[in-house]
Symmetry: D2
Subunit: 108 residues, 4 copies
């Protein structure tokens, strides 16, 4: 596997986990009706990270394309999570922004 992928791959793994944890935690919150956009974006972001991970691990010819959208989705998820005070949302936001940054570096 391309050694340049290492940092981005780790960021995507961490982001996949944060998004799946945040998705589940949002559904269990006292007011899940305030978390619907977060729930939706957590799922999206997890799906794109998952495909980005697979693409890097398999040295796909389409790594740049998928990682580039992945950055967009991570940012959207990060901005939404940032609005909510729950610890899982704040943590997820930071991890999403960090993942977007690593994705952008790879496509630069």
């Amino acid at each position: 596997m391309n050694a340049n992928y290492k940092a981005c791959l780790e960021a995507c793994f961490t982001c996949l986990e944060a998004c799946n944890i945040c998705f589940h935690a949002c559904l269990k919150e006292e007011h899940p009706e305030k978390m619907t956009k977060c729930i939706e974006l957590d799922r999206e972001c997890a799906d794109f990270c998952s495909l980005a991970i697979a693409s890097m691990q398999r040295s796909s010819a389409f790594v740049k394309e998928i990682v580039s959208i992945c950055a967009t989705v991570c940012e959207a998820c990060g901005y939404e999570c940032k609005k909510h005070d729950h610890e899982h949302c704040q943590k997820c936001a930071d991890i999403c922004f960090r993942c977007a940054e690593e994705c952008r570096k790879l496509t630069a």
Copy 2:
């Protein structure tokens, strides 16, 4: 592809679609706080149907195993959806039960 998979494959495609539509519609309902279990199970069920579809299409050696869990997840999702009066939930419930039935036939 094994011709015996046809009915189950179609049921899984229909179920994947119903679950993804129900997931999104639940998040847009007036009271999404009542739909959290449905949202969670719609995602689960879509994921299992998706893997079941891929396994059948690729003539995997593990079709019976995945289709067998898929039936269990479809039933769980169907029972939850059935509790809600929204049209997308009732429709999803019927489709989930039908998919579970086709999955059971394949593993019988």
Copy 3:
């Protein structure tokens, strides 16, 4: 779900199936060593179609982005499959090109 997605969604479903069937059939060919690029692209294409399907069914905010890459991957897979005389490859090529066309229409 957006009614405009209908044709593209169906094309992606058909393409997912063709790619998974072609993947498996290529591995069983007498000379799989000639099919390695086809095997690789069949898997890629199936993965992108799968995410495109989920995105449309859930009315994702990122449908255009994923469908746009999906078109690129479908074309790459189509050009590779077209080179091989096996019936599953020729069929897969036609279906990939048709899927790329529907994806392009959606992003036009």
Copy 4:
């Protein structure tokens, strides 16, 4: 997320990566025609690990079911990889067996 999942989750992440790397490396080998079963099982195993990861991260009600099949698929992939002398196959085999072991612990 359930703390008991930690070891299994890490084993699944490592296994997903090993299988995707082995998949790609097998296709680039001098004699890919000898690697077809390995290629097929690498993809299967990656798919099951991926769903097992998502299920654990989202505290799914079906973790035991999916992790249990995952163990079976990991073992099948491990036995196949073990037959081949390539470094990526030997490494993948060890990682698959270790993942199967962690999956079995979780379902014990």
